[in-house]
């Protein structure tokens, strides 16, 4: 059983107060949706949780251990940002190979591409893909780690209805396997995930 606890989290970006006294607690199998207007600090919140931004007040505890002091914490989460992390001049296959090397995990390409029904794109250059297809490929990075937490920054942007449903199902499956998920989103997901905070 894992637990992620956020206590009195306050974060400034330059002179601006972006996050103020955030408190929340998540246990294995739970998903939290962060909602807010543009520039409200949703991405900053995820970057703080992912230990990219380390100058903040308050505490983030994973299994009662401060994440700033836990050197193994980085193996516990997978952060999927708004950028697709794809090399435009390479094929999908070569991009997957690069991820395989950096994540040091062998994976069956056809199996993961099947998740979004995009097996036929494997030899295509990334430049020739639509934004939605790029987003689907970007989300395949979730398969490259054995993490306990997923931080997903606007994962539904560019996805069509069918792929959005597949992603929701993937998140629910991860929850069922005791995973914790935090999603930032501009769209209303309250019918799907009940746990929501506004910042």
């Amino acid at each position: 059983m894992n637990e992620l606890k956020i206590e009195d989290l306050t974060c400034y970006r330059g002179e601006n107060l972006v996050l103020k006294d955030l408190n929340t607690k998540l246990k294995s199998g739970e998903t939290l949706v962060i909602r807010g207007s543009n520039g409200s600090g949703k991405t900053t919140f995820l970057r703080v949780l992912s230990n990219f931004i380390k100058s903040y007040k308050g505490k983030i505890l994973f299994n009662d251990q401060n994440v700033l002091e836990d050197s193994y914490y980085r193996y516990s989460f997978n952060f999927i940002g708004q950028k697709n992390s794809l090399k435009d001049n390479l094929s999908v296959k070569n991009n997957l190979r690069l991820w395989e090397i950096i994540y040091q995990k062998k994976i069956s390409y056809s199996k993961i591409l099947e998740e979004f029904n995009i097996t036929h794109l494997i030899e295509r250059d990334v430049t020739s893909l639509s934004d939605g297809q790029k987003k689907c490929i970007s989300l395949l990075r979730l398969n490259f780690t054995e993490s306990k937490i997923w931080y997903l920054d606007e994962p539904f942007v560019y996805l069509d209805e069918e792929n959005s449903q597949k992603l929701i199902q993937k998140i629910k499956n991860f929850n069922n396997n005791n995973g914790i998920v935090i999603i930032t989103s501009n769209i209303n997901l309250q019918n799907t995930f009940t746990n929501e905070i506004k910042i």
Binding site: Q82, K87, L98, I102
Partner: protein
């Protein structure tokens, strides 16, 4: 570190033009010389010693955006940071990759070019040593400038304005065939400076 090194080398291999472009750019810069100054042996030998440094400087300068900026713009830098907790290992890996991808091809074509420019064997070895130590220092310099200007778009001229004055000591000593120990010392100083400044630049990005 080795995963990042391997990934960067594979990236260069997949976009195989990297190796080809650098060496062909270097060769083309040198090939222009006889058209401008004629084919006098002695004159070409003198010009060769200087122009190879201009070729090397331009090759390193024009590719500096690929050190950190390309990964920053497509979001891969976040993955690199997550997978490599130490900024120093990221920086060292980038030094090695950048040297292998953008400097090594020049050393491969150097013997042929030296032969074409009537350079004697003794002089070739001294030129080779100078270029080797000089290229290391120049890679250290572009790496820290690249890290400091991370996220700044279309700033190749700004970067050139910062980098070229820092290249000047290498160019001054590089044209003197006996000065490889000075170039080695310059490269070692650049390494120390580069490690601190690059780490600072990357930390600014992460924060």
């Amino acid at each position: 570190m080795f995963a990042l090194l391997k990934r960067d080398l594979y990236l260069a291999l997949f976009s195989s033009s990297s190796f080809f472009y650098t060496s062909s750019f270097f060769v083309l810069v040198l090939i222009i010389l006889p058209f401008l100054f004629g084919t006098n042996d002695v004159q070409l030998q003198v010009l060769f010693k200087g122009i190879i440094w201009i070729g090397l400087s331009l090759s390193i300068l024009l590719t500096m955006d690929r050190i950190f900026n390309a990964d920053y713009e497509d979001g891969n830098l976040d993955i690199i940071f997550q997978q490599n907790p130490s900024l120093e290992t990221i920086i060292i890996s980038k030094y090695i990759t950048h040297w292998i991808v953008y400097c090594l091809p020049l050393f491969i074509v150097l013997p042929i070019l030296s032969f074409l420019f009537y350079v004697s064997l003794d002089n070739f070895f001294l030129i080779f040593l100078n270029l080797f130590f000089g290229s290391l220092g120049m890679v250290f310099i572009v790496t820290f400038v690249s890290a400091l200007t991370l996220g700044a778009k279309r700033t190749i001229f700004l970067k050139a304005i910062i980098v070229i004055p820092l290249f000047v000591p290498f160019l001054i000593f590089g044209t003197n065939l006996e000065s490889w120990p000075i170039l080695l010392a310059l490269s070692m100083m650049s390494f120390v400076l580069s490690m601190y400044v690059s780490a600072y630049g990357l930390r600014l990005y992460v924060e």
